[in-house]
């Protein structure tokens, strides 16, 4: 017997022994009796219609259907009771008397609470799942009420905190949406009123800087920026689906160009235009030292403004604890090293390094079931944010946890080399890891070329990428040099992919080639973390 056979044999035998060892743990009979209107309690209370049974033959029992009344169990005292006081308390505690908003909130939240309470009682009345669903519904009710109350009343109490000047609801929202920022703001740990530079009528004001174990983030405001430019490029014919991506026409670009004089990689979301100018954030990786000089570069219309601010982790590190982990898992050419966990009052931050052949292209995720989470004391906590830093180091933030935690990461996508070529003929088929992928359509529009594929949804790969066109001489020309537009989606078991890019000048393409497949590596990526 081979090792393979032996393993499967042991697996089967082990599972069979395990299943045979099962003992009843719930009273199924009582459940069936109750749901079918049978009120007898003993095992013999429900005879076979009183008829003797033939040996080896089981005859039918006419089921006694009782409809909803039969399914309705007694309502336990307090089944709804605990919910209502909690909602009432939440509203009373959060709605400040002077806030007109809270007055408007009460009926809305109360209505929501009643709806959820009603659902909870319905579940309870069903006599099933009460153990699972009631806590969930109560939790959602409380969370919904609190979220509504906070969202409406936040400006009134946040404005009282010292340090960071509030410049309207956008900055307020940015802070509220990030647990670490919100906590740091509440604790006065965001360095406020940091710097301000005015140049030719344009003012860049650094509202705040926060350096912590997860990132280094700068909140800024820009006044005097010119209005957004219009896109003067010629309109793309409406019959064409091959379009270059719309370029942002915002007149403000922000970057953290250097940290302590060394080049840095930063990310920023498009700043938002408000009556108080543009506001936004720009962030980079956590500081390696306790303190560092950040060189910020702003491009505002024609103006280029550089300013330097100091960021410090001193205060935030004082209230956080970093534990070195160094756990490594490696599957199928992908290696993940969890390097450390940082416990703060606001977040649990996991730092890990992912080493894999990168796939260049879009990947379609089923976010309902595929996500990173922490598992603590039987609860799962989804990641509330994160980011990719230098050298493939990732940071994942979770709610603050205590006790033994387990990190579970979603599948990792690696780029696997393939050689799939489609002649430029609609309906051409090429196999990718055994799955037929059809070139449904291709189109030329000006300098752009675009392709659409479809294929049966497969677990072998999540998409294709690394595109090249091939000319009549057989030369390959990589695409995506100046711009590319990509899409990857799944509907009813079919994967649809779209790719368009600028066609290299002078190239007459006769075929398109994909050189990579996005292959999911499932792990299991499970890491036991030290106690928080």
């Amino acid at each position: 017997m081979t090792g393979h056979d032996d393993f499967e044999h042991r697996l089967g035998q082990g599972l069979k022994r395990w299943v045979q060892a099962g003992e009843p743990t719930i009273d199924l009979e009582a459940f069936v009796r109750e749901r079918t209107g049978q009120r007898g309690t003993g095992p013999d209370a429900l005879p076979w219609n009183g008829e003797p049974l033939e040996a080896g033959v089981v005859k039918a029992l006419a089921p006694i259907e009782s409809g909803a009344a039969g399914a309705t169990g007694p309502l336990e005292p307090g089944a709804i009771g605990p919910l209502a006081p909690m909602q009432q308390g939440a509203l009373e505690g959060l709605g400040s008397p002077e806030s007109g908003a809270s007055g408007e909130l009460a009926p809305q939240a109360s209505g929501l609470a009643q709806t959820i309470a009603h659902q909870a009682s319905d579940e309870r009345l069903s006599g099933r799942r009460s153990r699972r669903w009631k806590p969930w519904l109560v939790g959602v009710a409380a969370a919904a009420v609190i979220a509504l109350a906070l969202g409406t009343t936040f400006p009134s109490w946040a404005g009282a905190a010292a340090g960071l000047p509030l410049v309207g609801p956008v900055i307020t929202r940015i802070i509220m949406e990030d647990a670490g920022l919100k906590w740091a703001y509440d604790m006065g740990l965001i360095q406020g009123n940091v710097a301000e530079v005015t140049q030719n009528g344009v003012t860049v004001r650094i509202l705040g800087v926060l350096a912590d174990s997860r990132r280094t983030i700068v909140l800024y405001q820009v006044l005097g920026a010119p209005p957004a430019e219009r896109d003067d490029s010629p309109p793309v014919p409406t019959s064409s689906w091959v379009t270059p991506p719309e370029r942002p026409s915002l007149p403000v670009e922000a970057a953290i160009a250097q940290v302590n004089g060394r080049g840095a990689v930063s990310s920023s979301s498009p700043p938002e235009e408000t009556p108080l100018g543009y506001v936004g954030t720009v962030s980079t990786v956590p500081l390696e030292l306790e303190q560092a000089e950040l060189t910020l570069r702003f491009v505002v219309g024609e103006e280029k403004i550089t300013l330097t601010v100091t960021a410090s982790r001193e205060e935030t590190d004082r209230v956080s604890r970093e534990v070195v982990v160094s756990q490594i898992l490696e599957y199928d050419g992908v290696r993940i090293t969890v390097e450390s966990v940082v416990y703060t009052p606001a977040e649990t931050v996991v730092r890990y390094r992912e080493e894999a052949d990168r796939f260049i292209g879009p990947v379609n995720w089923d976010w309902e079931t595929e996500y990173d989470y922490l598992e603590v004391n039987g609860q799962r906590y989804r990641s509330s944010g994160g980011g990719l830093g230098l050298n493939n180091v990732h940071h994942l933030a979770f709610p603050p946890v205590e006790g033994q935690a387990r990190l579970v990461l979603k599948p990792v996508i690696k780029g696997s080399p393939i050689e799939a070529v489609w002649p430029l003929e609609e309906g051409a088929v090429a196999e990718v890891m055994g799955v037929p992928v059809t070139l449904v359509e291709f189109q030329r529009a000006g300098d752009a070329i675009g392709f659409r594929w479809k294929s049966p949804q497969s677990e072998q790969f999540r998409g294709i990428g690394g595109f090249e066109v091939i000319d009549s001489a057989g030369n390959a020309h990589p695409l995506g040099g100046s711009w590319e537009s990509v899409a990857n989606s799944v509907a009813e078991g079919v994967r649809y992919q779209h790719y368009s890019a600028e066609l290299p000048e002078g190239v007459e393409a006769v075929a398109v080639r994909a050189t990579q497949a996005a292959v999911p590596v499932y792990g299991p990526w499970v890491f036991e973390l030290p106690r928080g």
Partner: protein, 160 residues
């Protein structure tokens, strides 16, 4: 002998099948309750009491499949605790260890392993039971076996 006598005789085994298919006790209880109810209501269709176990297993697997599909479509964040793998000891250390490895498989892989190796169903039967192509069953089995082997090797290394 009646429905409940037969059900009691098979309940322990059915509970474990549900737990193995679904990975957690609350969902397993839901599936069992629905299966028990369905079995009761359709008991007249069963002609051979000796077939009760297989008959109930089919009903139960159908319920489990519905729960798995529902779980895939809707995964309430605040109720995730209900989806954690539950532990259940076997009669010996090896079977317990095997279950604990299988329990760590994802919802895609675990049911395939359970049907194929615990219930000795053919790949065609597994495909029909789960409503997926035979090719998918094969690929999932291959993937699951590879993962289980890796887990076993990792356990072995850790024990050394």
């Amino acid at each position: 002998m009646d429905y409940f006598h037969l059900l009691r005789a098979h309940q322990g085994c059915l509970e474990r099948i549900a737990l193995a298919m679904l990975g957690n006790r609350p969902d397993a209880e839901d599936a069992l309750q629905e299966a028990a109810l369905a079995g009761y209501r359709h008991f007249d269709q069963l002609r051979d009491a000796h077939a009760f176990g297989a008959w109930m297993r089919r009903i139960l697997i159908r319920q489990c499949r519905q729960i798995l599909e529902r779980r895939r479509l809707s995964f309430p964040v605040d109720d995730l605790a209900a989806y954690l793998p539950d532990t259940a000891p076997g009669p010996d250390a090896e079977s317990t260890a095997i279950w604990e490895m299988v329990a760590r498989l994802s919802d895609h892989l675990r049911p395939v392993v359970v049907l194929r190796y615990m219930l000795d169903m053919s790949q065609q039967e597994v495909a029909e039971a789960l409503g997926i192509p035979v090719g998918t069953v094969k690929s999932r089995l291959g993937k699951a076996l590879a993962l289980l082997r890796e887990m076993e090797e990792a356990e072995g290394r850790a024990a050394q």
